[in-house]
Symmetry: C2
Subunit: 391 residues, 2 copies
Amino acid sequence: MSVSVAGNQTADDGCIGVVETQYYTFAHPPNELKLECGKSLGPVTLAYETYGRLNADKSNAILVVHALSGDAHAAGVHKGENNPGWWDDMIGPGKAFDTDRYFVVCSNVIGGCKGSTGPASINPGTGRPYALDFPMITVGDMVNAQRHLIDHLGIRKLLSVAGGSMGGMQVLQWVASYPERVKSAIPIATALKHSPQQIAFNEVVRQSIMADPDWRQGDYYEHGQPAKGLSVARMIGHITFMSDQSMEEKFSRKLKNGDYSFKFGADFEVEGYLRYRGESFVKRFDANSYLYITKAVDYFDLSGGKMVSRDRPIDTRFLVISFKSDWLYPTHQSQEIVRQLKAGLIEATSCEIAATYGHDAFLVEIDEQTHLIRHFLEKTYYGNGTLESGI
Amino acid sequence: MSVSVAGNQTADDGCIGVVETQYYTFAHPPNELKLECGKSLGPVTLAYETYGRLNADKSNAILVVHALSGDAHAAGVHKGENNPGWWDDMIGPGKAFDTDRYFVVCSNVIGGCKGSTGPASINPGTGRPYALDFPMITVGDMVNAQRHLIDHLGIRKLLSVAGGSMGGMQVLQWVASYPERVKSAIPIATALKHSPQQIAFNEVVRQSIMADPDWRQGDYYEHGQPAKGLSVARMIGHITFMSDQSMEEKFSRKLKNGDYSFKFGADFEVEGYLRYRGESFVKRFDANSYLYITKAVDYFDLSGGKMVSRDRPIDTRFLVISFKSDWLYPTHQSQEIVRQLKAGLIEATSCEIAATYGHDAFLVEIDEQTHLIRHFLEKTYYGNGTLESGI
């Protein structure tokens, strides 16, 4: 395996090439997955992708976890398609998660609709989609399912777990649930728990979906999505993903039609943008999954010493990243993570990046994140030795 | 008339007593009100209330203007009812707008649904509610209608025009449209124009209403409101009216049911609060009015010297107030108002109040506002003489 020199991306850096989503099914009855709500779920399928190669002692595996509506397709392209994965700028040869060195696994979450078991999956008990018979899931359940996948891949200890937003919550949950299996953790633009304002935005998202008569109490699979409600729900989300400044930079106040006659049409650019985003979301994401997953992140709460404490020493190293313009997961929530870690005597590096993109920054602000993450992973993997020593 | 001493409210301060909404109808065809969109509207009715007494030379009149969903009932109580007006803490004997000294007029806006002509009013051309046949209105049109009311009351020059949020826009518009009729202006928690983020929130509000099939393209008056869509729309609004901090202070994260079994119910306090706010709004506000009025504030734009300029000197004095925790109309937008005024050589005092209530602060932060406004009005009314000299 060739090793590129850290800090200098080579000319052929770029897309990792063609990748394929894989599926792991486990928890077959009667050995179903026990959920935090007390119910069981099985069989459970997780969609995942891998990039790079697992080394002989299986010490170079990094788990990447995704945000609310993300999926297992984090890097590369699928055969016959042109869309790179959602973190393609960060994962690949010479990139932040350098696939010349590390074996990167991206796992979808349960409750989702991107190949993993969720409310749109067939309920083996009825032969019909679960819909609202799907049990409530938590971030703890998502991580517990991922642990089965990591077992299946034969990985005892992950070099790192990394992710932004809800991905960051999974990172924190991994440390809370399985500290002995996580050598380092990179929670990005996330929080130990949602504030009432964050819950409020999610609640309006849910109400918007459930207000649509096409939602049919969740039992809409034979009829099609509650398209209007889901579209409005996603529009709300997109406002919170951007900053006031990035909207200013992206959109003008120019009226499309130059007069007032176009009643309640999208006559400002930002209106057209939101409508487009809402409508395209309907084509790619299941409304019930959005309900379950937003509720899971609202329930998430590792505050008050629930992640780490002096009574339970762990040796996981942390890199905590936030973005100055992110008002959905503001820096003070990342600082609270760092405070909890320090109170538990855990090593933590933190950085607020001065990006203007708002919460979206974790997806689009590449240079600074690459610099921080590459260096952090090198130190975690190679310790204080030379780069070559660990290969 | 007795005059209380400024700075000390007397023991019998408080409610102004029983008040009654009045109605002024004008612009009877063929002399209809010309609107900025090019269309005409008539007859036009404005609902308004008055508090205190107009003095002999009609120099003590203050126009108070309201926010998005406000009405003419700013102070006192209606006969047989207990609800004080929306700014009752600010208007009355000894209060910020001291009705022992000043004659306060509160005017509703056209486009609304609180007694003034709006989309729910009967279209004289059809005998049915206007619905979407109601013409697009602007903040300029609202102010132009109010000017007819002020003419009708025989007031040549207003001592002041004051209001928060959309009320603040009307204040700025009064100066832009009729500077010679406004001795002073008090725009609170407002902006010269909406940013794309502010437009975005309003657009999601509109989309939520229009996504409800009960909206019926605006033609719902025989069937009832698009209740679900309007409720979600208002929930979005309420998130933006509060600050992250005030939500933290008001709501806990406590689950109402203590477990995860209550699927998508309001198990966090903030969820119950938002649902209550949404549902009560449906009972008091017309969905089409919400569409028209949110669009009017999105169109509003007095930036770039459109309010005042050196070429058009005016002598209106300004008091510009903003609130530190208001992220919907942040202080930098008030600072932009002050910059425009200073560029036009206009006298302006500005103050950012350190309240935690978010945008709602203009309705609930009374002490600091009272202090600032009372002093400002005294100086405007009495000049540098003694308090008694002007009476």
